[in-house]
Amino acid sequence: MGVFKLASCDGCQLTLLGCEDELLALAERVEIAHFPEASSRLDPHGTFDLVLVEGSVSAPFQRDELLSIRARAKKLVTIGACATSGGVQALRNGRDVKGFIASVYATPEYISTLDDSTPVSAHVPVDYELRGCPIDKRQLIEVLTALLVGRRPNIRDESVCMECKRQGNMCVLVTRDEPCLGPVTHAGCGALCPSFDRGCYGCFGPKEQAKTSALAARFQRDGMVPVELVRRFRGITAGAEAFKKEGERHE
């Protein structure tokens, strides 16, 4: 197995190191051949049965690196919001990137970046996607276990609400109008935020059939102003199509 990163904060790879109870069992079954965050013994040019890719394609060299990784990997699993939707850095998509660079960096000419931050799946075929910022540890273990035994991983593409209700949480949206993106967000976190009595902010990105307009209509009825609506959908997974479109609708 190899662990590679593109434009990202390293938090999702860290989840792998955070699998403390399972790491030894994992190391028995899997040779971790390339994992810069954990080891200085590297094999960046090797071939792999499985590659975990973190981060989005944000700079030209990352595109080339990604194509090379894919060519050497039997299975490629993307981990996290950056790799699956472009990440928080996709907020720049469609904006004045040159202007941003000029206003942030003292020497803009040193910066080589693409206009858009894009997910891995925009460039190469992906076998499985793990959503989230960061990814969920149980989902990571599940995908690794499933690939080892040859099972389709249990990565459910339902709403966060399904997980929330199975846990017996009270709905924060219905009981006190707390803006919660759970109804349009991909499950997998175990309804983490609602379990701590706050609304989901959509870090797992849109679920399939995400009817964002219906949820936005609800937020509006509860008194949310357009600028706030834009912020709700334009967060960590701003580059995901359904959230991007909904943000644009209220601009």
Partner: protein, 647 residues
């Protein structure tokens, strides 16, 4: 009818917990009235009421001291008996080295439910019908449900989203409880409905209710009935709904529907579930869990990797036509009890009663099958496989193999039935029986997904899990004495093979059998050698075609319906078909032109049978569960729905 002082509620809570009984009652939690384990009357929501509107639920203080001055919270008795997630079994290596499957069934639990409303009593009865009163009984539900003491409360006030009066379930408690309470500011009326309730009531300090008390109760219940916040017209609603499958309202509601599944989660009768296989990293143990699922999730209608109901429009239609329509055919009662939870807890505030009214623009009615009462005594179905061993593996084509399996304690099977084959840690899939080979039960499997691939890679001696047989097979008795036309497409020949073998072995009963078989290529033809052997049998005709030819192929090329068009069939012929849905659709048309009417055609419906016991809802097809009502149907039973998108 007796009267008790309010102070007796404490004694009631105490008595309800005797003999280690867990008391489940309403209590305030996180801004709502939840159902949870309680120990004393002080846990009850004294002085609280709920205010509900579409997509909105609020608690509000009252000036009084009533403990039951609310209608319903988000949870119901459902989760007490049908758990949101629970393990079904564990697979492990036995001492003799073989694979063992250990059922995980809870010990019988003693429960008392306090404060249950009439609508929820009806919901419990509905779930009982699903899980324990049919031909197959879920032992987990049964174990939790068996010893339940129910203390119900008459509704003397209706909520703004209530419509139990329309559904005929409330507001008065008539049955399904041991005790029924009616609460006033300072005292409660109490009535025992069962001997257990009488025994409990005898230990309370009570006095005979007066005529005035009884009048108060009647008037209060009547006033609740008259002030329901919602109303629906239930006259023949199941037949009317199925006549509106193409109504524009479905699309309209889909624009507002989040397909989040909140309605199905809070619904006290929704019973759909799915399973997940889990295993250790080292592969030493594997478990299978069952968890709540929703018809609003893509996976719920998944079949071979795509969703039968891909759009929210189709999913909403499934939810409503099942809840108020198909349910009546399946269980003889509506799946809606009028509690209003799906309206309050829908983040978008979609109002089922409003949608129903909008869909009721016409009085057109669809012909619906009538629920057949369960003929046989229920048998426990723990959904746990038995160990089986592969006796032989026959490679039929590049991606199809036939496994002959030795099954521990096999039950007899009929042609057309199916088994659930499983490999621990990988999954389970329904596979039709394709025949019997000595002691072995044969299954012909095409490698399409992870489980079927793993099955195709098994070798003689390999072990796996098997449960079954399930379902309704081919109508061998109805076919006897008549010419039989058999039409098969691709792997669809597998479920027909045993029927063919039985017919060919009995020329007196089945003198004229004609098989029309189409495959993709000559290499994909199944059982080629065996079929050649059949051609010696007098009265058997074989016509084969392939979609794509090969250099050595000298036979027909084209779809199987073209073979049929060139043929004639004898009068009174009967037909049995299995293949892709589109092939069966055209075959039925071709047969109709040849004079074979819909009531003389049988086919197998393909849906994902997950539990095979009629409990998980995955294989629903209109009013049917394909797993137990099918998979073989007479065509006229399904003609109005067959081939329609998103059913």
């Amino acid at each position: 009818m007796r009267r008790i002082d309010r102070s007796q509620l404490e004694q009631l809570c105490h008595l309800a917990q005797r003999d280690g009984r867990t008391l489940i009652g309403p209590t305030v939690r996180d801004g709502a009235i939840a159902l949870a384990p309680i120990t004393t009357a002080a846990d009850l929501p004294v002085g609280w009421t709920d205010v509900q509107a579409p997509g909105r639920y609020r608690l509000s203080r009252t000036q009084g001291q009533r403990a039951f001055d609310f209608v319903v919270g988000p949870n119901s008795a459902k989760e007490q008996f049908f758990k949101p997630r629970e393990p079904l079994y564990r697979a492990e290596r036995r001492a003799d080295g073989r694979v063992g499957f250990v059922a995980i069934v809870p010990e019988p639990e003693k429960r008392a439910l306090l404060g249950v409303r009439a609508c929820d009593l009806a919901a419990i009865a509905v779930q009982d019908a699903v899980f324990v009163e049919g031909a197959m009984r879920d032992p987990r539900y049964a174990s939790r449900r068996a010893d339940t003491l129910v203390i119900a409360v008459h509704c003397t006030r209706a909520g703004s989203l209530c419509f139990c009066a329309s559904m005929g379930t409330g507001p008065k408690v008539n049955s399904g409880a041991d005790l029924a309470l009616a609460e006033r500011e300072h005292d409660l009326l109490i009535e025992a409905l069962t001997p257990a309730g009488e025994a409990l009531l005898a230990q309370l300090s009570s006095e005979e209710a007066s005529g005035e008390d009884l009048r108060w109760l009647d008037e209060s219940v009547e006033s609740a009935r008259a002030s329901m916040g919602r109303h629906v017209d239930t006259r023949a609603v199941h037949e009317r709904l199925f006549a509106q499958l193409e109504h524009p309202r479905w699309k309209e509601v889909a624009d507002r529907c989040l397909s989040c599944g909140n309605c199905t989660s809070v619904c006290p009768t929704c019973f759909c579930s799915t399973t997940e296989d889990r295993s250790d990293l080292d592969g030493s143990t594997a478990e299978r869990d069952r968890l709540w699922e929703s018809c609003f999730s893509r996976e719920h209608s998944e079949l071979h990797g795509h969703a039968v109901r891909g759009s929210t429009e189709q999913r909403y239609r499934q939810w409503l036509t099942h809840k108020l329509g198909a349910w009546v055919s399946q269980f003889g009662a509506s799946g809606c009890v009028g509690c209003g939870r799906c309206i309050a807890w829908c983040p978008a505030g979609i109002d089922l009663t409003e949608e129903l009214a909008a869909l009721s623009t016409s009085d057109a009615r669809a012909l619906m099958p009538v629920a057949a009462p369960c003929a046989e005594e229920g048998r426990d179905e723990a959904m746990v496989p038995s160990p089986a061993r592969v006796l032989s593996v026959t490679r039929e084509s590049s991606d199809v193999v036939t496994l002959a399996l030795a099954i521990d304690e096999p039950r007899p099977f009929a042609p057309g039935q199916f088994y659930q084959l499983s490999i621990p840690g990988i999954g389970e899939a329904p596979i039709s029986v394709s025949g019997r080979d000595g002691a072995g039960v044969e299954h012909t499997i095409r490698a399409v997904g992870s489980l079927t691939r793993a099955l195709c890679e098994l070798s003689p001696g390999s072990e796996l899990g098997v449960r079954g047989p399930y379902g309704r097979g081919w109508p061998m008795r109805e076919l006897a004495g008549a010419p039989v036309v058999v039409v098969a497409g691709g792997i669809g020949l597998a479920p027909l093979r045993e029927a063919l073998r039985q017919m060919l072995a009995d020329p007196q009963q089945y003198p004229d059998v004609r098989l029309f078989y189409g495959a993709r290529t000559p290499e994909d033809l199944l059982y080629a050698r065996e079929m050649l052997g059949w051609t010696d049998r007098r009265g058997f005709q074989l016509s084969i075609t392939v979609d794509r030819s090969s250099p050595t192929w000298r036979g027909n090329v084209g779809v199987v319906t073209r073979l049929l068009k060139r043929s004639t069939v004898p009068d009174a012929a009967r037909a049995i078909l299995c293949g892709p849905e589109v092939m069966m659709r055209f075959t039925i048309q071709a047969l109709a032109r040849l004079g074979v009417t819909h009531d003389r055609i049988w086919l197998t419906m393909e849906r994902h049978m997950k539990c095979a016991t009629g409990h998980c809802g995955r294989c629903q097809f209109g009013p049917y569960f394909v797993c137990k009502d099918g998979p073989v149907f007479r065509y006229d039973e399904v003609a109005s729905l067959f081939g329609r998108d998103g059913i």
